[in-house]
Symmetry: C2
Subunit: 192 residues, 2 copies
């Protein structure tokens, strides 16, 4: 299998996550991230406004893909079937770099309160993107909000299993996010 | 009805929220908050580590009350019935000050990305507190996580309706949080 070669943007993400984990988020500067990635500071700023945003890189892309998948699901799809279509769309956009990053990202976030906050707001944004796309399909507000939350839980669980748990498996991310959504659907029947 | 008289801690919260709304979060200093509340800066620091924490004041108390309510629910209670017990417990601890603060808090958070992040992490914390308490009752992990998320959604919706919507109503907060939980329970049946 060919070695995966990240572009400048990908190298910046990897360098930032590694430095955050090695020496802490607060102690890491943009200059250090750029140096580790082999690019200049101005290249850094072409991709990211500051070091924190490196870690939520892709939130807008994720939101857009989730919303597109939901919008394009068959008209007869149930709210969770539409969420599944969103998860399939977003999962298919994530490759080896995203898989490699998972455990390092988790360690960096676990070590910084500031990154935990940013990460929490990212989840809020993804849930809102799905909820809005579901409402546009005519799903009632409360059901749409609930389905959006389930979508975020499924995405996070699936991503975590794919990137941290079962590293030897050939399964794509979609396999894990859709399985997690099924599990959550089953659990919703036993809430009482 | 007697005028509600907040103590120093309550006055600090009110002063902070008002200043954040009037002049922005970034432009507000701890000295200004203390002055507006009629206390010294060292009194401020007796209650809060920094200005941001003023806005999530009470997160630990909320988490504790939610967890206690869940733990003390009857053994035969379903996961959502236990969550309802947690919501009742926490709702009964919130009085006129919390109701008055709602709309101002919302405005302050809406105006600051930093506060939105802190607020998002607060929700994560409340959901985790409920999930942990449910797992301790023997609820399976996935069901517990889902029920914890529903509990947070119900708390936020109920608090928002109580403090922003129906200001003339005599209903207690519990009326709104429990109604919101019922609505979410009904919606979970139509996820498909």
């Amino acid at each position: 299998m060919a070695r995966w070669e990240p572009d400048a943007r990908g190298r910046l993400v990897v360098a930032a996550v590694d430095l955050f984990t090695e020496q802490g988020y607060d102690a890491t500067t943009v200059a250090q991230i750029a140096e580790r990635a082999g690019v200049t500071k101005s290249t850094f700023f072409r991709y990211f406004p500051d070091k924190r945003e490196v870690l939520v890189a892709g939130q807008e892309t994720l939101s857009r893909l989730l919303a597109e998948g939901i919008a394009e699901a068959p008209a007869a799809a149930s709210p969770l079937e539409a969420v599944a279509a969103g998860l399939e769309r977003v999962s298919s956009a994530m490759g080896p770099m995203n898989r490699d990053l998972g455990p390092r990202l988790k360690a960096a976030v676990a070590a910084s309160a500031e990154l935990q906050e940013r990460d929490a707001l990212k989840s809020v944004g993804l849930a809102a993107a799905m909820t809005t796309a579901l409402i546009a399909r005519g799903v009632p507000d409360t059901t749409a909000q609930l389905a959006g939350e389930l979508g975020v839980l499924a995405f996070k669980r699936g991503y975590s299993e794919w990137s941290e748990g079962d590293r030897e498996s050939d399964h794509e991310l979609a396999h894990y996010t859709l399985a997690a959504l099924d599990e959550l659907r089953a659990a919703s029947a036993s809430l009482g």
